[in-house]
């Protein structure tokens, strides 16, 4: 049975730090002359949503309800698909599927890894 979880609309420091930089694809792509309508990570995000639903870790209906509310209240000035990504992570943090501290740490590790190439 799907659990009704209380959605915590309080802003998440880690996500607030990410959104404040003006690096959304719809801003960035034109600067570089790129006309792809979506960033390269969009299909991976889509796959992540499908995977979470398939495994039962985060059913689509629950995820979308949270996303609707978050997109209206917290991330209402963030364009898609960044709003979808932030809402997903926000929801996963709420539900204890991942933790903010470890996510911040992993982001540092991933950035070092990618920039070392």
């Amino acid at each position: 049975m799907s659990q009704k979880s209380e959605l915590d609309l309080a802003r998440v420091a880690l996500l607030e730090a990410i959104r404040g930089q003006g690096k959304e694809w719809e801003v960035l792509a034109p600067c570089y002359g790129v006309t792809n309508p979506n960033p390269p990570w969009k299909t991976s995000l889509t796959a992540m949503c499908d995977s979470l639903d398939a495994s039962g870790a985060l059913p689509t209906l629950d995820r979308r309800r949270a996303e609707d509310e978050l997109a209206e209240v917290v991330y209402n000035d963030v364009p898609a698909p960044e709003s979808q990504l932030l809402a997903l992570v926000h929801t996963m943090l709420n539900r204890g599927l991942v933790a903010e501290g470890e996510l911040a740490g992993r982001m540092r590790t991933v950035r070092s890894r990618l920039e070392a190439v």
Binding site: M1, S2, Q3, K4, L61, D62, R65
Partner: protein, 115 residues
């Protein structure tokens, strides 16, 4: 469980109608039905706009388990799903256009027959 293909209903809807042998659909195309207004405690796929409204069976679709998020009757029974059609004027009292309609899908257990 084997499924049996039935003649598609002529209703501008192209869909493979199927139900397993032994599942007798309660309703047929054209029957008048009402969507039950049920309490719900969990997320449900029965929208608020359709509850308590009388509509018409537009098509039979597939048979499936009813979503587990119903507040009662979690019995694992496979049942027929339907497309139900409503007049917009019956859903929204102030809707201005006579002919417009709206359709949605429903499992059998959410539907009450209306004579």
């Amino acid at each position: 469980m084997k499924s049996k293909t039935i003649e598609k209903s002529q209703n501008n809807i192209g869909v493979l109608e199927e139900h397993p042998l032994g599942v007798q659909p309660r309703f047929k195309v054209g029957d008048r039905v009402q969507l039950r207004d049920m309490p719900y405690f969990f997320y449900t796929r029965s929208q608020m706009w359709a509850r308590g409204i009388v509509g018409t069976i537009a098509a039979l679709t597939y048979s499936d388990l009813v979503p587990e998020d119903e507040a009662f009757n979690v019995d694992g029974r496979v049942e027929q799903y339907y497309i139900v059609r409503f007049r917009q004027k019956d859903v929204w009292p102030e809707y201005p256009f006579e002919n417009d309609t709206i359709q949605t899908e429903s499992p059998e257990r959410w539907l009450e027959p209306i004579s």
